[in-house]
């Protein structure tokens, strides 16, 4: 079924809340598409080695690595390095060496490129766009970062674009009075109050950062627009990953709504770890006879009852989500006895994802 979703697609973005098997699903989709003859790269920015683990690699770096998976196509994997990507973009857009060095060595830039929530997500999108333009792969699968608010990465390009918005730059780079006029009356006082609250150094650093960044804004804005365009392109597909748990389902429904609102190409939902519906009926008498051990029969019965109760709840949660999805498809992957963390496990998921 996933095969249909991704036919003629070049980018697959797996999104969802934490702990629902997003990394595993990304890897299983990539492996499955590679097994069907495509040249696929699966990308993560999560440094937690989850993707590497599931592909049987000791670790991943910023360069793609070929996975030894015995498939008709090719499977590659990489871990994106957001900081490195940001540096590369600065190097690319800087008009001269002096500007480049000024930006790269500015402390505001260093913290921004390293630590700020949102810039990581944005850089993942940047790298995705770059790889897509290079065109070395038939399909790119992106495992999005494990944020609690799974939508951060969609808003990230907008946020960063606002941050390097030219008006902010004008404020810092235009000669004093002119720059402040942009911001309206009372800015003089605002500035002096700010100095009291923050200390001068911070303002000076920001000012220096914006001055050196000024010449690069155009390039940055263009790129942010390209990234947004790629996400909305019909060659992209968003796959929502969820588990049947109430909170995950709730978040998936909300996420689906946001994707539609943003006009992004939503393909369908993968629900992991679904307990299959168990048959109704009371097996207690037969169990006791069969096992000839009342205590054991009771333990078996209790386990079965617990299982059934959870399965019923799973069904209820997923039915509610299905209703919200309308005609969009949902694939269910059952709860596998052993958790999936290697190529063998990924192949077991294949029959459900592609079956």
């Amino acid at each position: 079924m996933i095969g249909d979703w991704l036919e003629r697609k070049e980018v697959c973005i797996c999104a969802g809340s934490g702990g629902v098997g997003k990394t595993t699903t990304s890897a299983a989709i990539a492996l499955g598409m590679a097994a069907r003859g495509r040249k696929v790269a699966v990308l993560t920015i999560d440094p937690a080695k989850r993707l590497a683990n599931s592909l049987g690699l000791p670790e991943l770096g910023n360069e793609e690595r070929r996975v030894n998976a015995d498939v008709d196509g090719e499977l590659w994997a990489m871990m994106l390095d957001p900081k490195r990507t940001f540096d590369e973009i600065v190097e690319w857009h800087a008009p001269d060496e002096r500007t480049r060095d000024a930006v790269l060595s500015n402390r505001i830039y260093q913290e921004l490129s390293n630590a700020v929530a949102g810039s990581q997500e944005y850089m993942a999108m940047e790298k995705l766009n770059e790889l897509h333009q290079e065109g070395r792969y038939d399909l790119l699968v992106l495992d999005t970062p494990p944020t609690r608010n799974a939508l951060d990465f969609i808003d990230a390009p907008k946020k960063l674009a606002a941050f390097i918005d030219s008006r902010t730059l004008q404020m810092f780079t235009a000669p004093g009075a002119v720059g402040l006029k942009v911001l309206g009356r009372g800015s003089g006082m605002v500035f002096s109050v700010l100095k009291r609250a923050t200390g001068l150094d911070l303002l000076d650093d920001l000012s220096a950062f914006f001055s050196s960044f000024a010449e690069m804004t155009e390039g940055f804005r263009e790129r942010a627009e390209k990234v947004s365009a790629l996400l909305a392109d019909s060659r992209s597909a968003f796959v929502l990953v969820t588990s049947p748990r109430a909170d995950a389902v709730e978040e998936a429904g909300w996420f689906h709504h946001r994707l539609l609102d943003a006009g992004l190409p939503f393909a369908g939902v993968v629900a992991n770890r679904v307990r299959p519906a168990a048959p109704k009926g009371d097996p207690s008498t037969e169990l006791t006879g069969l096992l000839d051990d009342e205590a054991l029969a009771r333990k078996v019965l209790r386990t079965f009852e617990e299982d059934r109760r959870l399965a019923v709840q799973d069904r209820r949660n997923l039915a509610a989500l299905k209703k919200r999805l309308g005609r969009k498809p949902m694939i269910e992957v059952p709860h596998l006895d052993d958790d999936v963390h290697d190529l063998r496990g990924l192949r077991r998921m294949d029959e459900y994802l592609f079956g």
Binding site: A48, E111, R148, L183, L206, D337
Partner: protein
Amino acid sequence: MASLFDKRLIVVTGKGGAGKTTVAAALGLAAARRGKRVVLCEVAEQGRLAALFGASATHAETELAPSLFTVSVDPEQAKQEWLRYQLKSRTLAGVLGGSRLFQYLTAAAPGLSELVTIGKVWDLAQLERRTGGSVFDLAIVDAPATGHGLAMLRAPSTFAAVARVGPIGRQAEEIDRFLRDAKHTGVIAAALPEEMPVNETVEFERALRRELNISVDAIVVNAVHPARFGPDDIQRLRNVSSANPVTQAALSAALSEDTRARAERAQVRRLRRAAKAPVATLPRIFEPELGRDELERLSAELERRL
């Protein structure tokens, strides 16, 4: 456990879906039972903590149970509070907070939103509240998932380095010192008994030590399935089968559960070997939704096992 509850702040983090909120709430109940006045703080606008107690989330401090309060930290509101404190004037804070220049600056200053968030959490843990709010014996924060949780703990030192001098820099340093002081601040990592969550927990413990020189106080492994069946039981279950689909499904469910319980126990053993912090386990609750009774049960278990 005594020393954990004698701290002023407990940060609960862990992989997404590993039960951070449940662990935070269970710790809160246990501390409140010991007579502490406790506040549970949520930083990601999810309202899950309040929902566990059947209440709805607010940005004001809300009582969930005797001596147990909750607050959902909103970065925007925290920013305004900080400004008021900083400027000692509501009017000036209003002028600044409403100005476009300030909006630009705060969007621009890296990590400011994380800083004011952890700053608010810090304030909740102080004996003298900067914001003049009521005083708690213990603040427990349901922090973002590991990567972002680490970023939140790192924010004060990042900001202290950026701001260097001035009031922001000084406050960031003060918060950073408090977070790194094991006498005041504890860190609990929530985990699950599975391959990847175990790896991530071990990685997190190392990263926290390496980057901030902070130790994890304890790891809580959630939702561990009970080991109900002995080797003889399993042998017997394997030797029987039934033509009745219900009976056969029950037999399969039991064997399947046993396989899972065994795999989980192996993961817990692996975690105990690899982690420096002590590891406590909590049982899987077989209810579709956690209610107050289940929380009380988990809380009692946690208190016993930590």
